[in-house]
């Protein structure tokens, strides 16, 4: 009975839990509610994946109104995978949040932070499961509005300007997306993704479709921080509370990437993204520029959070390269990197949060001799960093492997070379951290072991171990990513 409503529950559970938090307003209680949501949704997301694997696509008509009139939720292997990623990162983020948040946000506002956090999660879930383009817009705004609130909880007052600049950029992005789907609606008379996919091929040569595509690509490009539309991201990640940064880095841009892939490959006619408009070449070029250039910017950052925020833009670049290749292998590499990047970046930001709790700052100075003072916290950052580079036995290696083989499949030797160049640049900023933390010793100073609290270390290390595990045994992630790619590339009902 309940199993037929799984897809709706994934959105309804957090949506109902958020107002509960706003009613109770006790920090511990709201945290427990958020945790319960995380547990329920994570279990639910596994059930959804299972159901999709056993019986194929789940189609759920909300309120019993059939598709063209009502809104439907449609889950195939592609979004089941994304739902799983976001749910688990949310769960681990919430476990981590208790201590991290209480060290940064005052007692009275904590309940509001959790409320916004749950709402943000609701929005992200809605974006991923929805089969209706307008519904996606609404959830996009739900998640964005709560993200602006989350960012404004930061300690530094500059979080406020980061939040309002993101608000302005984000609203422009969402409105661009709205214009795009407005044009599509005016042509086809439908907002349902499957309907759009069946009606658009006949209209593919019309200019309106091209205009709609342009608006949608730019709108979602801002949301996913695709270079050069990334300007909002570094400040937003730097000044948000640490737990929030960890969560956002793993999830927020990912949902936008998913919608982008869904629109580009499944909704717009076959070959529209690749051969017809050659947009794929632009995305590919922007992706690889971003992967190399923004990683280079990261080298010169003094604040660790800002450094890894720039690195996040670089990693989105790799995902964009996979999308730009527009082949099954390329898109599979993108899906795989979505998963792997969520694992490594969340782990790194969590470890930085631990560093902050101990030393009260996240600048490079805090790292000095940290290798001896807090070996576990530093090891987490180190392994995350190695994973970013793509060292064997970490998840990053698997991503790079898939991506490079996808590039070679199309005989893009230069691309494979540039991807490796990106890794090299990544190695430079990781090395900078390693050097400060392990080799800049102060021989006179006594080393005091001062590890981050266990409640922060455990969730961090769950992800770090995940990083190593999925780096050695890529069977689950590899097959899930390939299935996701085949699902998203061939959704023609």
């Amino acid at each position: 009975m309940l199993s037929s409503h799984l897809s709706a529950l994934q959105v309804v559970i957090p949506l109902l839990a958020a107002p509960l938090c706003a009613i109770f307003r006790k920090p511990l209680l709201t945290w427990l509610i958020a945790l319960a949501v995380g547990l329920a949704c994570s279990i639910n997301s596994i059930a959804i994946l299972q159901q999709v694997r056993e019986s194929g696509e789940i189609v759920y008509a909300l309120g019993g109104w059939a598709a063209p009139w009502g809104i439907e939720y449609r889950i195939d292997s592609a979004n089941a995978f994304i739902v799983l990623i976001i749910s688990f990162i949310y769960l681990i983020g919430i476990i981590y949040a208790r201590q991290s948040v209480s060290s940064e946000v005052d007692e009275k506002s904590q309940c509001w932070l959790y409320t916004a956090w749950i709402l943000c999660f609701t929005g992200l879930m809605g974006i991923t499961v929805s089969g209706d383009v307008f519904n996606v817009f609404v959830f996009l705004e739900v998640s964005s509005l709560s993200t602006y609130i989350l960012i404004s909880f930061g300690q530094d007052k500059r979080c406020l300007t980061a939040a309002i600049r993101y608000l302005i950029m984000g609203t422009i992005a969402a409105t661009f997306y709205l214009i795009g789907i407005g044009f599509l609606y005016s042509l086809t008379g439908t907002l349902n993704m499957a309907d759009l996919a069946s009606r658009l091929p006949d209209l593919a040569s019309q200019n309106t479709v091209a205009v709609a595509f342009g608006f949608v690509v730019i709108g979602l490009g801002i949301k996913m921080a695709l270079f050069p539309l990334h300007a909002w991201l570094p400040n937003a990640y730097t000044y948000a509370p640490n737990a929030v940064t960890a969560f956002l880095a793993g999830t927020a841009t990912k949902a936008a990437v998913y919608v982008f892939m869904r629109l580009a490959f499944a909704i717009f006619p076959d070959d529209y993204f690749s051969d017809f408009t050659s947009t794929h070449a632009i995305i590919l070029a922007l992706g690889i520029i971003s992967a190399v250039a923004t990683s280079a910017v990261a080298i010169f950052q003094d604040d660790l959070k800002r450094l890894f925020a720039w690195s996040s833009i670089g990693q989105i670049g790799y995902i964009a390269v996979g999308i730009g290749l527009a082949s099954t292998a390329g898109v599979a590499a993108s899906f795989l990197h979505l998963f792997n990047h969520a694992l490594m970046k969340t782990a790194i930001f969590m470890a930085i949060g631990g560093l902050f709790v101990v030393s009260g700052t996240t600048t490079m100075a805090a790292l000095k001799d940290a290798g001896r003072r807090m070996p576990w916290t530093m090891a987490a950052i180190l392994i995350g960093g190695l994973s970013l580079i793509g060292v064997p036995f970490t998840t990053g290696f698997i991503s790079k492997w898939y991506l490079v083989s996808a590039a070679l499949e199309q005989n893009y030797w230069w691309l494979a070379g540039l991807i490796l160049l990106g890794s090299l640049v990544t190695a430079a900023y990781v090395w900078k951290i390693v050097e400060t933390a392990y080799f800049r010793k102060d021989p006179d100073a006594k080393v005091i072991r001062q590890e981050a609290p266990l409640s922060l270390l455990v969730p961090t290390w769950i992800l770090v171990i995940g990083n190593i595990y999925f780096g050695i045994n890529a069977q689950f992630t590899g097959s899930a990513a390939t299935q996701a790619a085949t699902a998203i590339l061939s959704l023609t009902p």
Partner: protein, 117 residues
């Protein structure tokens, strides 16, 4: 007079450009929010213009068959207006906090204060 017939869409384009320009050029955060509102309103008008059927009435169920305008865009835009109001409210709330934290709501001044500390 084909161009006059597209009057609504000319307005849409004009408002869209004015809105975006204000967002980009204004330094005052409140003006930026106003710009955003103008930009969003232009999209609302776009949707509603799409839904209009010339000679159509309101979509009310009566026995005889009549031409009626498409009600769906109105519903969509009702939702989008709610989203817009929420965004404006949140933006203004942030501006209030910026004012108390920085003592100014000018983007340029805030940036200078940012780099100083």
């Amino acid at each position: 007079m084909e161009y006059l017939g597209l009057f609504n869409y000319w307005i849409v384009i004009a408002l869209m450009m004015i809105g975006l320009y204000v967002v980009m050029s204004a330094n005052n955060f409140i003006k930026k929010i106003i710009g955003l509102n103008i930009f969003q309103s232009s999209v609302f008008i776009l949707y509603i213009s799409i839904g209009k059927v010339s000679g159509g009435t309101a979509p009310i169920l009566i026995d005889e068959s009549v031409v009626y305008s498409n009600p769906l865009p109105h519903v969509l835009i009702l939702t989008a207006i709610v989203v817009g109001v929420a965004t404006t409210a949140l933006g203004l709330a942030l501006i209030v906090r910026i004012r108390s934290a920085f003592g100014t709501i000018d983007d340029h001044d805030v940036q200078q204060l940012d780099t100083r500390d």
